[in-house]
Amino acid sequence: MSALTFTVKQETAQRVDMSPLVCQLLKDMNLADIAAIELQNGKRKIRADELFEITGSDTQNIVIKNSFAKLDFIAKGLQDGNVTVVGEAGAYLALGMKSGMVTVNGNVGLYAACEMKKGLLTIRGNAGDFLGAALPGNKQGMKGGTVLVKGNVGQRAGDHMRRGTMLIEGNAGDYCGSRMIAGTIAVMGYTGRFLGYAMQRGTLLLWQQPTLSATFNDCGSHTLAFLPILFKSFARLDSKFAQKSEAFSRVQRYGGDMAEKGRAEVLVRLDRRAAQSNTAFSAVNFH
């Protein structure tokens, strides 16, 4: 069976709610039924075949081609199955995803992996603000699974994050790990201002020395036994994180946020710490 493929015919002026086009909702549906699904497009509804050319039949393996940044809620609540996005994705990518695998070849918008529970989300481009965060008003963000971003991420990555792993090969914007409850965020690039703001528990694993607020205290340099196990778990990923040369266990440990519970930690790689400070680094903006 070939993958169920949605190829965008023409980009719309208004945003599109893609949440009906998710594997578990399309199961056992034929192409005619899928074509007739109505999608919210701004104020009006449009048929799926009005926006997409639909081919293939494997509903557990969905491909969205020519995707653009106004396609929101792709793979919302995904339960098993694969979703591949060729192009960009809009806001709320993989919102509340329960399991399965989502891969986006381009950039994605706000709130990707928001309240995600399990599975693997790979973003080959950049991600917008509030990656893995909680919906506005909610108290818990991402609760499990792995998010891999090959590019940069915006502000407030991991805001209210509860559990899971967020791997960022590029830079992270301001307030990375803000109000984080627990979990792990690893950033190979630079991090912005207010790192770990009001962070309660959890780990920020950094390759570059950050600018830390006065409410994070230096706990000294340490060799931590859990790090080799953590890096071993990255081995299956198509990522720099899987490279043995990037693994380390020797870190400088900072505890904080002392203005909050103070049980969180920022671990900074020690063996090849970047010589240059990133104080000149400002917020990452790309949208």
Partner: protein, 298 residues
């Protein structure tokens, strides 16, 4: 059946069902992993009075351990699940948590999950950190030498305890030498432990006693000094009997260990004073697993 002049009795060893788990202890080097493992498996020769039977299964290469450090795997057996969980937790807390540079991991993934470091984390007094990696929960407990890393749970499986065979020899040194040779070979096998001191027990027991309070007492039929005054199972030339007890994760593991051990004893043969191989047969009173010596050696 006679092998190299050693007579193999037409009898069987009786064994009983147990619950078991495996833990992996790692440390900065093999020396400290072994020290911790020896402490954890100390005073664990028999469930009669120790609460569990435990032993070192084998030394692990760094490539075999979860954290890439030298390690030792230990097996712990108990009569019931609750007893096993209690012994595991107590021993992990007092012997591994306390041991410098140690870390503790599950050695069995399947089966019912029982606490390994799940409750030891409270030693961290609120400073402990949980990490869930690849579906497994770990606890990082701050201690004075750095951090004690432990997996939260380990798997509990059904197992078999009390597999055994007796070595009957013309002298005490010859019996001991034969048992030592057997233990060397048996220790090469996975999934089994020989829980008694050095793997050998000289005080084999029978079920029951003339004293009502005791459930087991000396196996007088195999005591050489009682040959003339009890219903003995020994011929005149037998001066010493020693037993090797085996606990294994499966019946097949014990089968294999007994075969390897008995073969090692028989290799020494009658010329080294080894006369017979027998087994602890309690007439079906002890347990449902029967290991027939001649079938095993066939």
């Amino acid at each position: 059946m006679i092998i190299n002049g050693v007579s193999i009795d037409e009898t069987f060893a009786e064994a009983f069902p147990m619950k078991a788990t495996r833990a992996i202890i790692t440390a900065q080097n093999e020396k400290w992993a072994m020290i911790s493992a020896q402490a954890m498996t100390g005073f664990a020769t028999s469930v009669i009075a120790c609460g569990c039977e435990a032993g070192i299964e084998r030394v692990l290469d760094p490539s075999e351990t979860p954290d890439g450090r030298p390690g030792v795997s230990v097996l712990i057996f108990a009569m019931g699940g609750k007893g096993l969980a209690k012994q595991l937790e107590t021993r992990a807390g007092q012997c591994v948590l306390t041991s410098p540079t140690s870390a503790l991991f599950a050695g069995i993934d399947e089966g019912l999950q029982i606490p390994l470091g799940k409750n030891l984390r409270y030693f961290g007094d609120g400073f402990q950190i949980a990490k869930k990696i690849d579906g497994k929960r770990y606890w990082r407990v701050p201690v004075m030498d750095g951090e004690f890393l432990t997996e939260a749970t380990t798997g509990r499986v059904d197992a078999v305890g009390g597999g055994n065979f007796l070595v009957l020899a013309e002298s005490q040194p010859q019996a001991l030498a034969a048992c030592e040779a057997a233990i060397v070979e048996m220790k090469k096998l996975p999934n089994v432990i020989m829980p008694f001191p050095g793997g050998v027990v000289r005080s084999g027991s029978k079920v029951g006693s003339k004293y009502p309070a005791l459930g087991a007492s000396t196996n007088d039929a195999f005591c050489p000094t009682l040959k003339g005054i009890t219903k003995t199972d020994l011929s005149p030339e037998i001066e010493s009997v020693m037993e090797i007890v085996i606990d294994g994760l499966t019946k097949e593991d014990i089968d294999k260990a007994m075969r390897v051990g008995i073969q090692a004893v028989c290799d020494l043969g009658a010329e080294n004073g080894i006369k017979r191989i027998s087994a602890g047969n309690y007439g079906g009173k002890l347990g449902p697993f029967h290991f027939h010596l001649q079938e095993i050696m066939a």
